[in-house]
């Protein structure tokens, strides 16, 4: 357990950031909390010796996705802080046990004797090689998902702003 102190701290930070993102009454602070959660994941990936995956996580999730969220927030009309706080209190009252269950499950899994799995490089080559040489069709698929997301922003938010 002592070998993983840094990882446990990062995991704790990740859970707290995620909770802040979900419970924050202000959308902007939620986005910042989400970006912080992505930074925690990035650091974890560096600790797990996947630096390229960490770089992608930082640039795409903490960077690009935050930018997309901010542009969408600029097109929405936020709820009043009073109504959001009221909803958050109700949500906490109903679902307080979920993070507790999550932590207990995590602690239970720590006690399992999991086998030693091979490192990523031993399985299928470097991240660079897999991404650019092996998974081209999946890259195309992910570009199409981003395109679909762009259509979603137009359909759900741009027209609404024009109507307002």
């Amino acid at each position: 357990m002592c070998d993983y102190v840094i990882e446990l701290i990062l995991l704790g930070g990740l859970v707290l950031s995620a909770l802040w993102a979900v419970l924050s009454p202000r959308l902007l602070r939620s986005v910042l909390a989400l970006a912080l959660a992505s930074i925690m994941v990035t650091l974890l990936l560096f600790r797990l010796r996947s630096p390229l995956a960490g770089v992608f996580e930082l640039s795409v999730c903490a960077g690009l996705i935050s930018a997309v969220f901010l542009s969408v927030i600029s097109m929405t009309q936020p709820d009043t802080e009073t109504s959001v706080n009221k909803e958050n209190r109700e949500r906490l009252r109903r679902y307080w046990y979920l993070p507790v269950i999550l932590v207990l499950v995590g602690l239970a899994l720590c006690r399992l004797e999991l086998p030693n799995f091979p490192l990523a490089e031993e399985i299928g080559g470097s991240v660079r090689d897999v991404l650019w040489n092996v998974r081209q069709l999946d890259l195309l698929g992910q570009i199409v998902i981003l395109l679909a997301g762009a259509f979603g922003v137009v359909v759900l938010f741009k027209e609404w702003r024009n109507e307002r």
Binding site: N133, G141, V144, A148, G152, V155
Partner: protein, 474 residues
Amino acid sequence: MLPLLVLAPLVGLIILNLPIKAFNRTLFAVVGLVLALGQIALVWANPPGFLELSSPGGLVLGLVEDNLARIMLVAIGMALAAAIVVGHETIKEESRQRSFINLILVSMMGMNGTVLLTDLFSLYVFIEITGVASFIMIALHRGKDAIEGAFKYLILSAVAGALMLLGVAFFLLTAGATDFSSVSGALAEGAPHPGIARVAMGVFICGLFVKGGMVPFHGWLPAAYSTAPSGVSVMLAGIATKVSGVYALIRVVRFVFAQDPAVSQILLILGILSIVVGALAALGQTDLKRMLAYSSISQVGYIILAVGCGTEVAMAGAVFHLFNHAVFKSLLFSNSAAVEQQLGTTDMDQMGGLGTKMPITSLTATIALLSTAGIPPLSGFWSKLIIVAALWHAGLHGYAVIAVLSSLLTLAYFLGMERRAFFGKVTPAVANVREANLVLLAPAVLLALVTIGLGLCFPYLAESFMVLGRDRLW
């Protein structure tokens, strides 16, 4: 031809979004229709094939077009063609119609990729493409109920995606690769970590259950189907959930997990649960679209039951029922669109005597519901008969009896719908209603003819639905 089926919708998408003033809403619909119908023609005209795309990294990316994939590609073409026509007639705003067609092409690419690719991670990516497009289309009109329905679908879809990705990660660790042949080979030889392999199978299949809207993961489905615009309901109910959940389940359980006994048992139990729960829930509905949504859950249960049985005949029955379901559910939602357009509501308590005002809609709806209930000589009779016979022959007598009795439930809720909506005295709301226009009737009539034709010609077409043994190409 195989990569063309994945890339053609993308090319169509790019062309339609060029800044050309001539592109109006009708041209958008025509391009979408040409791609959908062209897909059917392309599959019909070419023999089955298997294509390997080699990459410098050594991974062989496979695109397979066996009998199962060909049946699905034809079903995708038909259901999307119906959805495009219904969408054109029911979505009048130009910008929204354009967005609808754009998203239809995105989901077409996602579904074609799901059907053709032979890699678990690619399967996940292309299922997600369909899911993202579907979620946005459900909320197309931005009504409160539609956004709630879309949000439910989004959350559960995200959970399903996370489960599938977790399964893929475990397979990568235990089998060393994620393509179908490597994973199935590793499972057949005995994976180095059998416990982890079992967990991987379990979580991956859970994800597919959520995507397919099977009991007990069906909570999102009635809200999504009933609140979506009509053209989107045709697409979702007709084909999207069938490809993302049911087809992927068949492909993975049979061809990758080699009909693992524990997985088969779970499928049998969940299949029978879906049949009964869906049918009982449909009985109590007053909204036409919600009733059709619960009916979908019930009919998918027959397919899952047959996949759980796993014999060659059962698999043929499962695939045939999957195709039939795509046809008659698209037909029923097209009818629902016609009724909603004329009446302004899908509340069955306000309908009554619609049969006299909308005779063609009523007739095609009757054909669809009789086929769903398994009445001969329509196509649904054959697929249900094959499934029940396969279950009985495999010694699963209890399941066979429940499946037959549930068909009576299906008949009950559909006859109830017919009596309330189409027969009986003309209600005040229906007094001034007229039949839908020819364009909106066209997909309903054509799908009804397919239902009748498949039923009458099934003895000559039975071979096309045999998906095991002979046509396995890798």
